[in-house]
């Protein structure tokens, strides 16, 4: 399946050889990391064309992750919204409950091929940490997960899950003590333990080859969707909708459709308390280009170029940067980027739960909220495919706390 990665995108050929998407992306890291990044790039480029690697990956995706994930026609929700037909790509049904595992399965196999015995990862809400600890347990690899101490406190259940899976969770006390600081700390670990350690980044950000590699592992979402929507509706969807923090589930859905100009693509950022309040996580909507975490992309920063704190009810979207390919898709006008507030996301969370019996993750609720808004403006012959990137089990406490209901 991965062998078809480039299918449908012949004229869109990014990144270039040095990892740039137009002015974005690249390799902005210290010299101390350049060698390891070169090694990773070479190994990735080799194995992504290696039939034995790809067939092992396909088997894992089928038997371990549970792919293909279904597409569900949310007929009742569509009627309630009153407009286009809403379809959901059910990444929430994957093993570990989100799309994150598509990528960690791929990178862990690569780590094994490269002879690395130790895995590190950063995590915000803990979903990527859990997905990484999961594959590390299965392959018998040592696993260390960096997590901001603020997130450790608010995501205690995921910390416990990672511990059960045999991973060591290291609370990060520097900076804002959240996802971006966890990423800084993981980079520091990598540079120190470069000989035996593989760093599994959870999103389409970081230095090249990460944005391209994570995209290629996540593009299974879009490839399946293309085929499934043909089977279900006889044609491609009119609109794709996905939430964007770093942007891996969105790129995974979008990428195989990029060359299909008739398919509109909408990335949904977290507007938090509202863009005007400044308390949000929407760099594409309200940030500007800069360099952070190894790549050039849109960032949330102050006038002096210091990274500012972000806010979202959804920890998985609470990040001041965004994958460089999204920055480029925005600039060339191929994808449309919008934002949804905490309140709107919560409303969508309840609506989908009540109307369809599907509890979405708070991250995915942002996509659901925009998808509903969009569908209401369209005719009933049109279709909107929303990437339901994760399930909401992990968010019970956050929602109950937010609404003042004791668990």
């Amino acid at each position: 399946m991965i062998a078809q990665v480039k299918q449908g995108s012949e004229s869109y050929d990014w990144p270039d050889a040095r990892g740039h998407f137009g002015p974005y992306g690249g390799v902005f890291v210290s010299e101390t990391l350049m060698h390891a990044i070169g090694e990773l790039r070479d190994a990735y480029q080799h194995y992504i064309k290696d039939p034995a690697f790809l067939s092992e990956l396909d088997l894992d995706l089928k038997h371990y992750v549970g792919r293909p994930s279904p597409i569900y026609h949310a007929a009742r929700l569509s009627r309630v919204v009153g407009g286009a037909q809403i379809y959901l790509k059910r990444e929430d049904l994957n093993h570990t409950g989100a799309h994150k595992v598509n990528n960690t399965v791929g990178q862990a196999l690569l780590a094994q091929r490269m002879g690395k015995t130790r895995i590190i990862a950063e995590t915000g809400a803990g979903q990527h940490g859990v997905a990484t600890a999961t594959v590390a347990a299965r392959l018998g690899l040592e696993c260390v997960v960096y997590m901001g101490s603020v997130d450790v406190a608010r995501q205690a259940q995921n910390v416990y899950r990672m511990n059960l899976l045999g991973a060591k969770v290291v609370p990060v006390e520097s900076g804002s003590k959240t996802l971006k600081d966890a990423l800084n700390e993981a980079m520091r670990d990598w540079v120190t333990n470069i000989d035996n350690t593989f760093y599994i980044i959870g999103t389409v950000a970081g230095p090249h080859p990460y944005p391209a590699m994570v995209r290629d592992f996540q593009a299974i979402i879009g490839r399946e969707s293309k085929q499934q929507m043909q089977e279900l509706t006889g044609r491609l969807p009119d609109h794709l909708v996905a939430c964007v923090g770093g942007g891996s589930n969105a790129i995974g859905l979008f990428y195989p459709f990029i060359k299909d100009a008739q398919v509109a693509m909408h990335g949904v950022e977290a507007a938090g308390d509202g863009i005007a309040t400044g308390r949000h996580s929407a760099p594409l909507t309200a940030g500007r280009p800069g360099v952070l975490h190894g790549n050039r992309t849109y960032l949330m920063e102050d006038d002096d170029g210091e990274i500012i704190e972000t806010h979202s009810i959804s920890a998985g979207l609470d990040y001041p940067g965004v994958g460089p390919e999204h920055a480029w898709l925005k600039d060339i006008g191929r994808a449309n980027y919008v934002s949804i507030t905490d309140q709107e996301a919560l409303h969508a969370f309840h609506t989908l739960t009540e109307k369809e019996g599907i509890i979405p993750a708070l991250e995915s609720s942002h996509a659901v909220a925009y998808g509903m808004k969009l569908a209401s403006t369209l005719s009933s012959e049109q279709t909107v495919l929303i990437n339901l990137s994760g399930r909401g089990d992990k968010d019970m406490k956050t929602v109950a706390d937010w609404e003042g209901k004791p668990l």
């Binding site: 210290s30 101390t32 520091r188 540079v191 470069i194 975490h293």
Partner: protein, 274 residues
């Protein structure tokens, strides 16, 4: 000849090695920095690396991270650091100043505006930790046209090809990071450093500075035998961390500055007696 090149040439003629202290501008307070720069020159510093604080110092260990945080608590921006250099230059026109930091503050200010101001206040060199030669294409020509040396890093993992790449675009000196890891980490393996420097010298004539892992006069002297310059950062900044508020009892700024300069003087004399 740039002020950096002239400094290295004159040191070489006198059979001396350069002592390069690194401090983060604005740590622990903005007012502390310029007087400290002058005091460090008096204590034997040949060149100064002045750190520009950044919110996300990915390549730095805890000591320099905290220095950045102390400085940013006072909103020390790149523009303010450039003003500090201007103030320093009012009475010291001889000592080279090399700014060291991350790319994003420079991106935010704008490459052209930054280089123009850096030239105006007489900055001698710029080290941008997260800008390897491959990504330096837009900033390099501006720096070179302004006569500011772009200084690049090399690491134990740098291949001969990478050394040649740095030699092709860098000037002033090369900063060899002697340890795998972040600033302030671990202990030096002198035999390894010696072998690596010999390898690097096959591919560049630039002076070689060594940083990471230099903790006291003894290691400074040992490195001075092998390299053209000794860079000391975390060891000095640790003194600030241990003796500035809110640590009790915090030292007066003058006493703190004296403590830093005492360490530099010890290093200087150890390096001069090798």
């Amino acid at each position: 000849m740039s002020r950096l090149s002239a400094t290295f040439a004159s040191l070489k003629a006198n059979h001396r090695k350069a002592l390069i202290p690194f401090i983060t501008a604005g740590d622990p307070t903005p007012g502390f920095t310029v007087p400290l720069l002058h005091a460090m020159v008096a204590a034997g510093a040949d060149i100064i690396e002045l750190g520009v604080p950044f919110s996300d110092p990915m390549a730095d260990g805890p000591v320099i991270q905290k220095a950045s945080e102390r400085s940013l608590a006072h909103h020390t921006s790149l523009r303010k650091v450039l003003n500090m250099v201007a103030e320093f230059r009012q009475t010291d026109k001889a000592t080279p100043i090399v700014l060291m930091g991350y790319l994003n503050p420079i991106e935010a200010m704008g490459y052209a505006a930054f280089v123009e101001r850096a030239k105006a206040v007489d900055v001698d060199g710029v080290i941008t930790v997260d800008m390897p030669p491959e990504e330096a294409g837009d900033l390099l020509p501006l720096l070179q046209a302004a006569g500011i040396d772009p200084v690049f890093l090399l690491a134990p993992t740098s291949t001969p090809e990478r050394v040649r790449k740095v030699d092709a675009v860098g000037s002033g000196y090369v900063y060899y990071v002697s340890l795998k890891g972040v600033t302030g980490a671990g202990n030096l393996d002198l035999d390894d450093v010696e072998a690596r420097l010999a390898g690097i010298r096959l591919n560049t004539q630039l002076p070689l500075g060594v940083g990471f892992g230099i903790k006291n006069a003894e290691t400074a002297a040992q490195i001075a035998k092998l390299a053209d310059a000794v860079v000391v950062g975390s060891a000095l900044i640790e003194l600030i961390e241990q003796h500035c508020a809110p640590v009790e009892p915090a030292l007066e700024e003058q006493a703190l500055s004296d403590l830093i300069c005492r360490m530099l003087r010890d290093m200087r004399s150890a390096m001069d007696t090798i």
